[in-house]
Subunit: 337 residues, 2 copies
DNA sequence: GTGAAAGCGCTAACAT
DNA sequence: ATGTTAGCGCTTTCAC
């Protein structure tokens, strides 16, 4: 059995009381220099580490934050997590990552698991399936600090940080139009996600601005964000079966972008000759792809950092916070032709 | 402040003692049916969840396991993590993921952080920099259950699970030879990693079997596994500057494979005409690449599952385990030409 | 069938 | 400057 040393072990070995040892280790002013040295040295020698569970129980905080994302294999999220970690570890917090795989149920389970006092705060990007956010509302009402990023709810009043999705979508769509495309389809994640709504808005705005009609047949939603390959395949097939086939697709997500390219390749549709493609993706290997795809990149790392800063501010605030920020960060378009 | 209900809250509300409530909730035989019902219903109503820190303190276990990998953005690891999670959650364990980013120091810090009783066991794949494993030996000697996977140490006696690296490397190299390549280079991670040693062995075995010489100039190690792009760039450039340039490269890792393709593209070296490429990679987008690359895939998900099974067996074993398994799983070659 | 009390490891108020 | 004690939330003897 793994039984790390405790304060009591030190106290017994040195003939002191546990409180003296505790105070010595935390360098309190009331302890004499010699005692401190004695304790420090011995603790060092036996490699003493305070029991975090005892600390948490006592101090009613765990120094750890929970993260809820759809999946770490997504480049956007893995980069965001790196940003989260960089801030968290600097400030002495553990990071507990959970994945929803775009499932509402897993999200609910993960959140409840995290909640019961094993974390001090929550960093969340909603799953594609999530329409009902009551599991978050419940915790939020009871004072659990939480910050949403990327996919945010509209009915919870707390800090939020998002990319400028509308602008990104507008630029990507405009880019396709300027490249000469006239019939631009839109492949999106589930229709209730904030990112879907905003990106759709940017897409339609670009069409309007360039005097193009919005064709409802050209807009396809994937309720699970392309988590199941069939979803994407189905959506793309529908587009290709239209009488008036699109000549370009604007894709509203990382996984969907990859999935769509896979389907196009499978269907032997040449990019960009038969179909131009642009979409949101933080993949770092787009340059290696056979089919060039213009991409909208989100500042994932920075978003993770900012979200964590905000969360720690909520957690460590002495007074209840009532003013919440809604931070929006610009995206960047990488054109490829 | 977030203050979830406690046993005491239930006890007070119902005019019972905390011990009765505790027993009722855990369905002990000594409690009357009516009291149980009373307690259950009330607990349900206020959404009572036991405080995990108090439980951990009491029971001296945390029901969580720590995972140490180089980075979640790596496809092999993200798939392995999915395997780990699937088993862990089924058995009621939390999973705490930490990344080393191939740094020995981060590995050491992460492990010490995890160790001090905030986890019941450890699942580890060593960082590229790690030559000294004393931080693991220390914990291992004190009884911390741990299982190594993928990149394993040779001086710690515990369960290990690896892909059949030698076989995979042999097949990939043989494939290059059969495609007509004669001068096959080898791009590897740091030279002390178990995976590097085994893959190098498979590479040389394949050359020998086909009557080819091993040319030391053709073997390049990247001490940080290609974590820094310059590393890979430097190694590939050296290969290209040789008088007798290689006509193929066998690459021993996911990140290196991607990195190498990027460098080749940058140098405008055509694949496979000027340079054939084969290597270990669990990327799911290799099919989309402009340059075809044969890949050795490891059964990452299954390895994660198996490692977790083994770890839980160690953790939950009543008696000290002294017999350790060294499980080796076959890889699969996906040829592309 | 239920309650009182001790203890897991730690800190802090209260002695001395 | 150091020791004693209570308590964080929970389980588990030991009483009744």
């Amino acid at each position: 059995m793994f039984e790390p040393p405790t304060l009591k072990d030190i106290a017994n070995a040195l003939g002191l009381s546990t409180s003296t040892v505790s105070r010595a280790l935390r360098d309190t002013y009331e302890i004499s220099a010699k005692t401190k040295k004695l304790v420090f040295d011995y603790a060092e020698k036996i490699n003493y580490q305070p029991n975090p569970n005892a600390l948490s129980l006592k101090e009613r905080r765990t120094k750890s934050i929970g993260v809820v994302v759809s999946e770490v294999a997504n480049h956007y999220f893995s980069q965001a997590i790196n940003g989260i970690e960089s801030i968290a570890y600097d400030r002495g917090y553990h990071v507990i990552i959970t994945q929803t795989h775009e499932s509402y149920l897993r999200e609910k389970i993960n959140v409840q698991h995290l909640a019961s006092r094993s974390i001090d705060g929550l960093l969340v990007s909603l799953s594609a399936e999530t329409a009902d956010t009551s599991h978050f509302n419940y915790l939020h009402e009871r004072g659990m600090p939480m910050v949403f990023f990327d996919r945010v709810p509209n009915n919870i009043n707390t800090h939020k940080i998002t990319a400028n999705n509308e602008q990104g979508a507008f630029e990507a769509t405009s880019h396709l139009i300027k490249s000469g495309c006239k019939r631009i389809a839109h492949l999106a994640s589930s229709d209730h996600l904030s990112i879907s709504i905003e990106r759709l808005r940017g897409y339609t705005a670009a069409l309007h601005q360039h005097g193009l009609q919005v064709n409802p047949d050209y807009i396809k939603h994937c309720p699970h964000g392309g988590m199941f390959p069939e979803e994407t395949e189905h959506a793309v097939s529908e587009l290709m079966n239209l009488k008036d086939k699109p000549d370009a697709i604007f894709i509203a997500g990382d996984r969907l972008s990859i999935g769509c390219l896979e389907v196009l390749k499978k269907l032997n549709i040449k990019v960009p000759e038969q179909m131009a493609v642009a979409g949101f993706s933080n993949s770092n290997v787009l340059d290696l792809f056979e089919y060039p795809m213009s991409s909208v990149r989100q500042p994932a790392f920075e978003m993770g950092e900012a979200a964590t800063e905000m969360l720690l501010q909520l957690i460590e605030s002495k007074y209840p916070v009532t003013e919440f920020k809604d931070k929006v960060i610009d995206t960047e378009l990488f054109a490829r032709d």
